[in-house]
């Protein structure tokens, strides 16, 4: 009987466990996570902090998920060491576990900026349910908060803090919010919406120092003589792949853990998926980290199926994000804002009534897009990236506000419907 060890208990780990069980009804599956909770939805920690969802509603699977799938779940215990030749993992409590197939679904860990005052009371990160709980326990109504970082995590924290009625300022190093996901025009629309909801935004400074008094936060110095008084600081400078176990075990690690089309790492029988993995991105046509939910699930399903003995290649993924913050809906995917325009063709329908359409082409194929406002067609455009459709004959239509499925070439349109 094969034994499977999964390290990690979120989107990728759960998807993989289910896929393993489908392919191997008898094998022993063990999941280990240093978090003490059954699998929950990490993106919902913002709604949790805002008081809009309970832990119960955040759970990814029914209460009997682990026993009903014959999974032994070891929760609240860290894996401290992997020995690849012995196929053995050591846990923080000294226990050891053997595996035939191993999956690293360890996710990410918050990037900690090298900023003075990081250890003061009132400074938090915002990555796990425990982080959200800690902030919720600490926060009182009169607290003013500064969020350092204007990316997805920073804005999701800011949204929750505002919702709780706390005065909130986001400070962002770059010239705009969500600079890694969006272009200047879409960022401006998001910022306008955020300001209208009462968020303060300070650009061009990532915060120079967190100031304290008696060990507690009292402000953030911006490094140009300006200080924002506050009682709470959230460090939201993004997430790094959590690769230390893999690195110490001698696996090949770059930014993340590179995997092949079967989600297998440089060591046979050892797989990786989710935010820790570098897998094939069909928009960039390269292997890279894509820390987004759909990519974790698809990678997990592929890893699990292959661990259970199938030879299924991964359909590939790409960075695809949808967000609905401050009443503004945005979807963006792939190379939505390429660093150079060399070799790219950009089609734009400038902002109109809070709507915006932008599609990026390369060699007649869509490689990225940003949509603000009307998102119903976003998935159709995303599918064109994935299928590498030559859109030359109808490229102008892509940014039409009325673009939809009927705009696809007849052959593709009908074949897709016949296929499902």
């Amino acid at each position: 009987m094969a034994s499977y060890l999964i390290i990690g208990n979120s989107a990728g780990g759960i998807a993989a466990a289910e896929a393993i069980r489908r392919g191997d009804p008898k094998g022993a599956i063990t999941m280990v996570s240093d978090e003490p909770y059954p699998a929950y939805s990490r993106p919902l920690i913002s709604d949790y902090l805002a008081g809009d969802v309970t832990l119960e509603k955040m759970l990814l699977r029914p209460a009997d998920f682990y026993p009903s799938h014959g999974i032994e779940a070891i929760l609240g215990t860290k894996v401290t060491r992997l020995e690849l030749t012995q196929k053995r993992a050591t846990l923080a409590d000294g226990r050891t576990l053997k595996w035939d197939k191993l999956l690293l679904a360890t996710g990410g860990t918050p990037t900690l900026p090298d900023i003075k005052g990081r250890d003061l009371k009132g400074v938090f990160v915002f990555n796990t349910l425990d982080d959200a709980k800690a902030i919720g326990d600490y926060l009182i109504a009169r607290h003013r908060a500064v969020v350092i970082g204007g990316g997805l995590i920073g804005l999701s924290a800011a949204k929750a803090l505002l919702r709780r009625g706390n005065e909130t300022t986001v400070v962002v190093r770059s010239a705009r919010l969500l600079s890694t996901l969006l272009d200047a025009e879409a960022s401006a629309l998001m910022e306008k919406a955020a300001l209208a909801k009462g968020l303060k935004v300070i650009k061009g400074s990532g915060g120079e120092e967190i100031l304290g008094q008696d060990g507690q936060v009292k402000g953030v110095a911006l490094g140009r003589g300006e200080t924002i008084p506050c009682e709470v600081v959230i460090l939201a400078r993004g997430v790094d792949p959590r690769t230390e176990l893999a690195r110490e075990a001698g696996l090949k690690v770059r930014e993340g853990i590179p995997v092949n089309e079967h989600m297998e790492t440089s060591a046979p029988g050892v797989y990786a998926c989710g935010d820790v993995a570098e897998s094939y991105d069909f928009a960039c046509q390269e292997v890279r980290v894509n820390p987004v939910w759909p990519s974790a699930v698809i990678g997990g399903l592929t890893a699990g199926a292959n661990m259970a003995g199938e030879r299924n290649p991964c359909p590939g993924t790409s960075a695809v994000n949808a967000l609905s913050y401050f009443g503004t809906a945005i979807a963006a995917a792939g190379q939505a804002n390429p660093p150079t325009l060399d070799g790219f063709e950009v089609l734009r329908h400038p902002a109109h009534n809070g709507h915006y359409e932008k599609v990026v082409l390369q060699d007649g194929r869509v490689v990225g897009f940003i949509l603000v406002g009307n998102l119903e067609k976003a998935g159709v455009i995303f599918s064109l990236i994935k299928e590498r459709v030559d859109v030359t004959p109808f490229k102008k239509d892509l940014i039409s506000p009325s673009f939809g499925y009927a705009f696809l070439p007849a052959k593709l349109r009908q074949a897709r419907i016949a296929a499902e």
Binding site: K57, P294, V320, E376, Q414, R416, I417
Partner: protein, 148 residues
């Protein structure tokens, strides 16, 4: 499984499918009341997509590899392995719109009044989905495959 297939060659974009879908998913089951009196107003779970002479009503395909389910971090979208039906639980949906960003058919919509996603539920409980039953041109069929 049986689902709703469009026959684009006979669709006239009259949008009666949308009208009857909305009524079928209203509290009153009455079109005028649903539009004028119900709050929040129900939303049609099918939408006609058209370009020039081409039009078709394209409700959820209930995909075997459902990208929307894979993308849903709220656990609101699920696929029943036994029936093949992809369902949306509006109580779990948080309106993040990831499903819209990954559905290759553009068959998931926003319900602005409720702030959640909306998609075809095959009119569970009816002998035939309302859009199919009321399409004057038989441009929608309820069948096992596109050929009927």
């Amino acid at each position: 499984m049986k689902k709703v297939y469009p026959k684009e060659e006979v669709c006239m974009a009259c949008r009666l499918c949308e009208v009857h879908c909305l009524a079928a998913h209203s509290l009153s089951q009455d079109l005028i009341r649903a539009y004028k009196l119900e709050s929040p107003r129900p939303r049609a779970l099918v939408q006609v997509t058209e370009k020039g002479p081409v039009s078709l009503a394209l409700p959820c395909r209930h995909c075997r590899e459902p990208m929307c389910v894979y993308g849903c971090f709220a656990g609101a979208l699920t696929r029943d392995e036994a029936t093949g039906v992809v369902s949306l639980d509006p109580d779990k949906c948080v309106g993040c719109w990831t499903c819209l960003a990954v559905c290759p058919y553009g068959a998931i919509y926003r319900d602005p009044a409720r702030g959640v996603a909306a998609k075809c539920d095959l009119c569970a409980g009816r002998p035939q989905p309302a859009c199919v039953a009321n399409c004057p041109n038989e441009a929608l069929i309820f069948a096992e495959s596109a050929r009927g």
